[in-house]
């Protein structure tokens, strides 16, 4: 298993690589990551305790670094560099051979390691269902609830215009 050692990949991986077919497992992994990155390390760890974890090893010790965040001119034009963000990453391998990756904003290496572990579990035939049921699904529900709360609070500040009727004439 080759781990990326890239630091400073100015030349973003070529389009050809990016266009690799998004098989269903990839979609599933990405969907799980999209939930896990919003959770605290403690929450993920607590949920994982509900699963009898298989033997696993840390393939890449958690490591902190930076990712340059990009925006687009006018919101939809050419990219530009907006500023960096701290990112932590790690990789974990299950006894069965599945390799999982964890990338997350922030500097919490343990969280990156836990995401990597979950990513490996998602790929495993044996644990895929359990990790979705015990870890990802409940965290997804709580993330959705938080977002819903914010959305209803925001909605209350939407302006309802009405036209004042002026005096006769």
């Amino acid at each position: 298993m080759k781990l990326s050692i890239i630091i400073d990949n100015f030349d973003q991986a070529s389009l050809a690589i990016r266009m690799t077919r998004q098989d269903s497992q990839q979609i599933q992994r990405k969907a799980a990551m999209a939930v896990l990155v919003h959770a605290e390390a403690g929450e993920i760890a607590a949920r994982l305790r509900n699963i009898a974890l298989p033997a696993h090893e840390t393939l890449r010790e958690p490591e902190n670094g930076l990712v340059m965040l990009r925006g687009r001119v006018g919101g939809d034009g050419a990219p530009f560099n907006l500023g960096e963000a701290t990112v932590s990453r790690a990789a974990v391998r299950l006894a069965g051979g599945e390799v999982g990756f964890g990338y997350t904003l922030g500097r919490d290496g343990e969280k990156a390691r836990l995401i990597a572990l979950c990513d490996a579990l998602v790929q495993s035939k044996e644990f895929g269902v359990a990790v979705e049921r015990e870890v990802v699904a409940p965290l997804r529900a709580s993330l959705a609830a938080q977002r819903k709360q914010r959305a209803v609070e925001t909605a209350a500040t939407k302006v309802d215009f009405y036209t004042m009727v002026r005096g006769e004439g």
Binding site: T20, Q26, G65, G75, G77, A78, L82, G83, A155, F161
Partner: protein, 367 residues
């Protein structure tokens, strides 16, 4: 010229010890926590993240605490920290059109799809100091309302459909993106570098520059087409994973200025645009940035370049408050030898003046 000066080590050590004591203030007053700074002085944190050019709330809060609330010092600390970490790469460009909007207003269209959403804003407050906040104030829970299902497209996208506004400039997918943290700045600079410079530029400087365009120094007739604030998702193409992985979400403010018509023999008149984007809720910053971005496009749009805000070398060379404070504040450092040589020269000139004019020797105050 600086010279190595020996001595003063103990004074410096004690000065830093005294600084730590002064930073703590009255020890009978509880110490402020990073959580308190991040949660209750959130806009200060946003500014330090934007101008420190590093999205990390906790680090920005720590910097504010360490800097005793001196924002530029805090920004300096964050920039210095940033230099200690390796860079994994660059994110996929964020999609502000897919933002989970928490505020969104347009001064050009009353009835924009998705509506005018005020969000948490100082607008329409009376700017009266509130004595209730002095101690133990518990605010009401926020009001809630049903969430509309309509999307909130960018206002510029709506205008764009009719060709009334210029489209955003596009680039080839693999085209390199300029990065002024890596390459020294050269002029003329492209729009990507200008926007990066403005995004990390000093809010006060950009505000003054933007204001100057409104007062007539490079006037460009702006309307706030749209200002939006909210959360966007960030993805990063990780080579080892083989696809773009979600990293989490960040809060951003975006401002789309819609400016004066232009037109030429070959192009129909249409609105032009200025763009502002910054970390956190930074409305004044992004509005100023958008005004200055538009002003800096003068050359490209065939406008006369006369005002400071239109001069990219002037704007980009002076927008960075860490550079600016470094050069201004270095005047505090020992310049003893420089000054001695100036002093020697001045004494000689004064002696020549006395001899040439045949007057009484001049008194030196220090003597």
């Amino acid at each position: 010229m600086y010279v190595a000066v020996k001595g003063g080590e103990r004074a410096i050590e004690n000065a830093h010890r005294l600084l730590a004591h002064a930073r703590r203030g009255d020890r009978n007053v509880p110490e402020v926590t990073l959580g308190q700074i991040s949660e209750q002085l959130g806009l200060a944190v946003d500014r330090v993240m934007s101008e420190g050019s590093l999205y990390d709330r906790e680090l920005a809060a720590l910097a504010i605490k360490q800097a005793r609330g001196d924002m530029i010092e805090a920004i300096f600390l964050v920039r210095a920290f940033r230099a200690t970490l390796p860079r994994f790469g660059a994110s996929e460009p964020v999609d502000t059109g897919a933002m989970r909007v928490e505020r969104r207003v347009s001064s050009t269209f009353k009835d924009i799809p998705g509506g005018q959403i005020l969000g948490p804003t100082f607008d329409y407050t009376h700017r009266l100091l509130d004595p209730q906040l002095a101690e133990g104030f518990v605010p009401e829970e926020p009001a809630t309302a049903e969430v509309a299902t309509t999307a909130t497209p960018r206002v510029t996208d709506i205008l764009g459909r009719d060709g009334l506004i210029e489209p955003s400039p596009q680039a080839a997918p693999d085209a390199p993106v300029g990065d002024l943290t890596r390459e020294p700045l050269n002029f003329p600079a492209d729009r990507d570098l200008r926007l990066q410079n403005l995004a990390r530029g000093d809010e006060g400087f950009l505000l003054a520059m933007g204001y100057s365009t409104q007062r007539g120094y490079g006037r460009n007739h702006p309307f706030a087409g749209e200002i939006r604030f909210g959360e966007v998702d960030v993805e990063f193409f990780a080579e080892d994973v083989g696809f773009a992985v979600p990293l989490g979400s960040i809060e951003l403010t975006e401002c789309q200025m819609v400016n004066q018509f232009k037109g030429s023999a070959t192009e129909a008149p249409c609105f032009t645009r200025g763009y502002g984007l910054a970390f956190g809720q930074s409305e004044r910053k992004t509005m100023s940035m958008a005004l200055v971005d538009r002003a800096l496009r003068a050359r490209e749009l065939g406008e006369e370049v006369r005002a400071p805000a239109q001069d990219e070398e002037f704007v980009m060379s002076h927008s960075d408050n860490v550079q600016a404070t470094g050069f201004v504040e270095h005047l505090k450092l020992p310049h003893y030898v420089d000054f001695q040589s100036e002093l020697g020269l001045l004494r000689k000139l004064r002696q020549e003046f006395v001899e040439a004019n045949d007057v009484e020797p001049l008194q030196e105050a220090a003597e």
